[in-house]
C-alpha cells in the first residue's frame, strides 16, 4: 500500500511557523477590514479591491470565494477541508476553474474571515486569486510526474507565489497579471496565452533557466505571447520578472480597462521598445539584492522531492489482464491515463465532465472520495488541471483497475480526457455577473450529444471551450472549437470559432460565421464534426484537417441554407 500519513504531504509545499504566522495575520487583517467596511469606514469602492485581493467577488446570487490552489497541487487533507467548508458555508459543492483554483458560489461576507481561518488550518488561503495583482501561478498538471519533464515547475511556481505575495510595488497594477510555467517538452500549461509565459529549460551544463514570453492573453483582444528573452538564468529569474512588472506598472494603460493588460502595452510600445525598457531595468536590478540564491531554490526543492516510489517493472500484468477483461476500463485507460516517468506508475485523470454534467463542478462527497482515493493510490496528493479535471499523478499501474472501479461507482469514471466531451466552460450567466449568455447549458447539451464513448474516440482529440462573455475565462479563443456567448437584444446567441490551439503552436480561432441560437449551435457543432470526419485522412486530428481543407466546407454545411 502507498498509504502515506496525511501529514507527510508528498509534493506539497508545507508551511512552517513563519508562513503560518503570515497567513494568520493576513486573516486577522481581513477580519478588521470587513469590520471597517460594515461600519462604513471603508467605502465599497475602497473595499472592493481589498476583498478581491482576498479572493472574494460579488456575483449574481451572492459572494463568490476563489480559493488558491497554488499551481493546482494539493493534498488529500486540503481537499477534505475544502469539502468541509463547502458543506458548512456553501451549498455542498465547489467549482474547479481554468485557473486551477476552486470557487464557492454562495458565500456570505460575514463568514469569510472564518472560512479563511479554516483554510489556514491546512496551509491554504485565497490571496491574490483576484484583483489587479500577480495571480496564482499555474503550471502543468502533470508536473513532477510527466515522462517528458525537464524542469520541475512547482519549485519556481512556489518561489513566485512567495515572491509576489503582498508585493509592495505590484499590488495595484493596471490590471490582473497571470503567469504560467511549463517545464516539460509538451506545453500543458498554455504558456503563450498568459501575461508572462515561462518555459523552464536546461542548458548544456544542465542548469535551469527560462524562456520568457510576454503579452499573451485572451479576452477582448486576444494576443499570443511574444518571445522576449530566450534564456534567463535561474539566479536572474526574479530580477527579470521584477523588471517586466515595473515596466508594466509604469507604462501600462490605466485609462481604459480593456486596454490595461500587458499585451496591449507590448503591442502599442512595440516588441523592441518593450524589450529595451525591460533590459534597462533588468541591468540595474541584476545585483545581489534581487539575485535568486541557489540555496533558497534547493531548500524549496526539498518540498517537492519525489514520493517514495516502489521499484516496479515497466509494465503491469494485472493492468493488461484487467484491460482485456473489461473494455470500458480499457477505454478509460486509453483515454484518461498518461505515461509516468517512474516505471510501473501512471498518471490518471479524473474527468469532471460527465455527459450532461456541469464542467468542473464537484460535490463535497465527491471531493471526499477523491481525497480518499488520492491517499490510497497517489501518496495523498492530487492536482487540478486547467481543463477543470482532477489528476492523480502517481498511481501504480497495478492499482488502476481498483481506482477506476471506485471512480466509476461514484460517477467519476468518464473516459473523455482531451476528447470532445471534455469541454471547458466558464460559469457564464448562471452565476457570473459579467456574463452575456449561459455557458453551462450548452456544455451540458454538447456533452450529452456526444456521450457515446466509441464515437468520442473516433472523433479523437478535439477541445471545445465555451465562454459566456468576451472576458474569455473559458478560453474559447484557443479551443479547436470555441464558443462565445453574446447577447443580441436580450437573447442568448453563440458565436463559433474554429482552429484555436493552446499548446506551443498557439493559435487563436477564427470566427466561422454569424452567431446562432443555443439549439442551432449544438447542431452546428455536430455538423462540424461530421464534415471533419468526412474529410479527414488517416491520422489527421481535427486541427490538421481544418488546416488542410480550410473553413469552406464547414461554413457551407452550417450556413448554406441562408
Amino acid at each position: 500500500m502507498n498509504h502515506i500519513a496525511p501529514g507527510a504531504r508528498a509534493g506539497i509545499y508545507h508551511y512552517d511557523a513563519i508562513d503560518r504566522r503570515f497567513v494568520g495575520e493576513r486573516v486577522e487583517q481581513f477580519r478588521k477590514q470587513v469590520d471597517r467596511r460594515l461600519a462604513g469606514e471603508l467605502t465599497e469602492e475602497e473595499f472592493k479591491p481589498i476583498r478581491l485581493m482576498n479572493g472574494l467577488y460579488l456575483q449574481l446570487h451572492a459572494y463568490m470565494l476563489r480559493i488558491a490552489v497554488p499551481y493546482g497541487v494539493m493534498s488529500a487533507v486540503q481537499l477534505r477541508k475544502l469539502a468541509e467548508i463547502g458543506r458548512t458555508y456553501d451549498k455542498g459543492y465547489g467549482h474547479f476553474t481554468t485557473r486551477q483554483n476552486l470557487q464557492y458560489n454562495w458565500i456570505k461576507l460575514e463568514d469569510t474571515p472564518a472560512i479563511l481561518n479554516a483554510l489556514a488550518d491546512v496551509d491554504m488561503h485565497a490571496l491574490q486569486t483576484s484583483g489587479n495583482c500577480v495571480r496564482n501561478v499555474t503550471t502543468d498538471q502533470f508536473v513532477g510526474a510527466a515522462k517528458d519533464e525537464v524542469v520541475d515547475g512547482r519549485v519556481y511556481a512556489e518561489i513566485l507565489r512567495q515572491w509576489t505575495t503582498l508585493h509592495p510595488e505590484f499590488t495595484y497594477l493596471p490590471r490582473k497579471f497571470k503567469i504560467a510555467i511549463s517545464g516539460a517538452v509538451s506545453d500543458r500549461a498554455a504558456v503563450r496565452v498568459h501575461d508572462v509565459g515561462l518555459l523552464a529549460r536546461r542548458n548544456e551544463a544542465g542548469e535551469a533557466g527560462f524562456t520568457f514570453y510576454v503579452g499573451g492573453g485572451l479576452g477582448r483582444s486576444p494576443f499570443i505571447g511574444k518571445l522576449v528573452r530566450e534564456w534567463v538564468a535561474e539566479e536572474d529569474f526574479v530580477a527579470y520578472l521584477e523588471a517586466i512588472l515595473r515596466v508594466y506598472n509604469q507604462y501600462g494603460r490605466r485609462d481604459n480597462i480593456y486596454k490595461a493588460r500587458i499585451k496591449i502595452l507590448v503591442h502599442e510600445l512595440g516588441l523592441e521598445k518593450f524589450k529595451a525598457e525591460v533590459e534597462e531595468e533588468f541591468a540595474r536590478l541584476r545585483g545581489p539584492k534581487y539575485r535568486l540564491d541557489p540555496a533558497i531554490v534547493a531548500e524549496i526543492r526539498t518540498h517537492f522531492a519525489p514520493p517514495p516510489f516502489e521499484e516496479l517493472p515497466e509494465t503491469s500484468e494485472a493492468l493488461a489482464r484487467a484491460k482485456a477483461e473489461n473494455p470500458a476500463f480499457a477505454n478509460w485507460v486509453a483515454v484518461n491515463v498518461a505515461e509516468h516517468k517512474a516505471p510501473g506508475y501512471a498518471i490518471a485523470t479524473i474527468s469532471l465532465k460527465p455527459p450532461g454534467g456541469i464542467p468542473g463542478d464537484a460535490t463535497c462527497d465527491q471531493m471526499d472520495l477523491i481525497a480518499d482515493l488520492a491517499e490510497r493510490y497517489s501518496f495523498g496528493e492530487l492536482r487540478v488541471s486547467h481543463v477543470q479535471n482532477i489528476v492523480l499523478a502517481h498511481v501504480k499501474q497495478d492499482d488502476l483497475f481498483a481506482l477506476w472501479q471506485q471512480l466509476d461507482a461514484a460517477g467519476l469514471g468518464t473516459a473523455n480526457a482531451g476528447l470532445i466531451g471534455d469541454i471547458i466552460a466558464c460559469p457564464g450567466l448562471d452565476y457570473c455577473a459579467l456574463a452575456n449568455a449561459r455557458s453551462i447549458p450548452l456544455a451540458q447539451a454538447l456533452s450529452a450529444r456526444f456521450a457515446d464513448p466509441v464515437r468520442q474516440r473516433t472523433i479523437g482529440e478535439l477541445g471545445i471551450k465555451i465562454s459566456g462573455c468576451i472576458n474569455a475565462c473559458g478560453h474559447h479563443h484557443v479551443g479547436a472549437i470555441g464558443i462565445l456567448g453574446v447577447d443580441k437584444k436580450g437573447t442568448e446567441f453563440y458565436q463559433i470559432t474554429v482552429g484555436g490551439d493552446p499548446t506551443l503552436t498557439t493559435a487563436i480561432g477564427d470566427i466561422l460565421g454569424p452567431a446562432l441560437t443555443e439549439e442551432e449551435t449544438v447542431d452546428a457543432i455536430e455538423a462540424i464534426v461530421e464534415v471533419y470526419l468526412a474529410h479527414r485522412t488517416e491520422g489527421e486530428r481535427f486541427l490538421d484537417t481544418l488546416a488542410r481543407v480550410g473553413h469552406g466546407p464547414f461554413k457551407e454545411r452550417i450556413y448554406a441554407a441562408d
Binding site: 495575520e25 515572491w163 508585493h167 509592495p168 510595488e169 495595484y172 497594477l173 506598472n249 533558497i296
Partner: protein, 167 residues
Amino acid sequence: MPLIENGRIGEDAWSFIPDGEPVPNDRPVIISYERWQSDRASFDGRNARLGVRLKSGTLAGAIAPDLDRFALVALEFPKFRDGRGFSTARELRERYGYTGEIRAVGHVIPDQYQFLVRTGFTSVEAPEGTNPTSWANALSEITVAFQPSLDETEPLSLLRRNLGLAG
C-alpha cells in the same frame, strides 16, 4: 489635511502652492512639476526648502536630473487603485539615489500604508477625518514580507523577511 508619519499623525511643515499663486520665500513649499518646468529660473537662489509634486503619469526619470533641488517629492495618487506611485518612489530611491522625503498625496488608504513605506515613501497626506488607528495598525498587522524592498527587513529564511516597521 492630517499628515501621517511613522504610523502617527505628525506636524506638517510644508504647504502646497497651487499654480498661479505667489510662492513664499520664507517657508517650505511644494510646487507642481509643471510650474517647475515653466518657471524653474525663478527658484534660483531660493533658500527655503522646495518640494515638487508629480502627477501619477510623470515618472521618476522626468525629475531625476533636478532631484538635488528638492527636499521633498510628492507623488500623486489620483485614485488609490492607480499604483504607479509605488514604482516611481522605488525608482527615485533605488535608481536615482534620492534621499529626501517622499510623500504620498491624493487618494491613499491605510490598507496601502505598509506598501508605501516598503517602496520608499516617508509620509502620507491622509484625508480629513481619517481614522488614525487604522494607519497605526497598518504597520503592525503583517510582520512577514516575502521579498526585499526599500525598508529595513531582516532575512528570516527562504524568501521571507521580518518586517520591523511598527514605528
